[in-house]
Symmetry: C2
Subunit: 104 residues, 2 copies
């Protein structure tokens, strides 16, 4: 499940599957074509807003893209860290703890 792809690569795949040129998509997003090019190749950071707009443009499930987007940011934080996996597990515990203590 989306384990071998970055959000940028995924967005490029989606764009190409729709046969849309960067030029058109960047116009819809109202950003420079160079920036979108770099975002797809991971050279510039994506924002949540851009990801959501692209989900809309490509007619693709937004949550799936957001999860990939967030996990990319997480991966960036733990890159090359031996303790990354442990840190992820601790973070999971903490998320669960927060959920539990946040009464609905």
């Amino acid at each position: 499940m989306s384990t071998e792809t970055t959000i940028g690569e995924k967005l490029r795949e989606l764009r190409e599957s729709k046969e849309l040129p960067l030029r058109k998509v960047s116009a819809l997003l109202d950003i420079d074509v160079a920036i979108l090019s770099k975002m797809e190749r991971g050279e510039r950071k994506l924002t949540k807003g851009i990801v959501l707009k692209l989900a809309e443009i490509y007619g693709h499930n937004a949550d799936e893209l957001l999860v990939l987007f967030l996990s990319d940011k997480i991966m960036y934080e733990i890159q090359d860290e031996d303790l990354g996996e442990k840190a992820l597990k601790v973070a999971e515990q903490r998320v669960k703890y927060l959920k539990a203590s946040k009464k609905k």
Copy 2:
């Protein structure tokens, strides 16, 4: 397992358990006392280097502190995100995938 504490709070606890004033510790770290104060309270970002030095100063297990430090950074990325937990799981998969494909 360290689910209710930030790295800053943990470092403050350690310092207080050793009865060391900020003044002395910040001198050992060669940083301003104000910065260390803010780091302990989460108002300024800690660095890996500072965490390691503090582990040394307090004679505390460095890995445990690093895991907490990294998980803090992860938590920061997914704060308030409904999809945070899913993103963590995907990140775990990806870490495992990377480990597997990186032949030793």
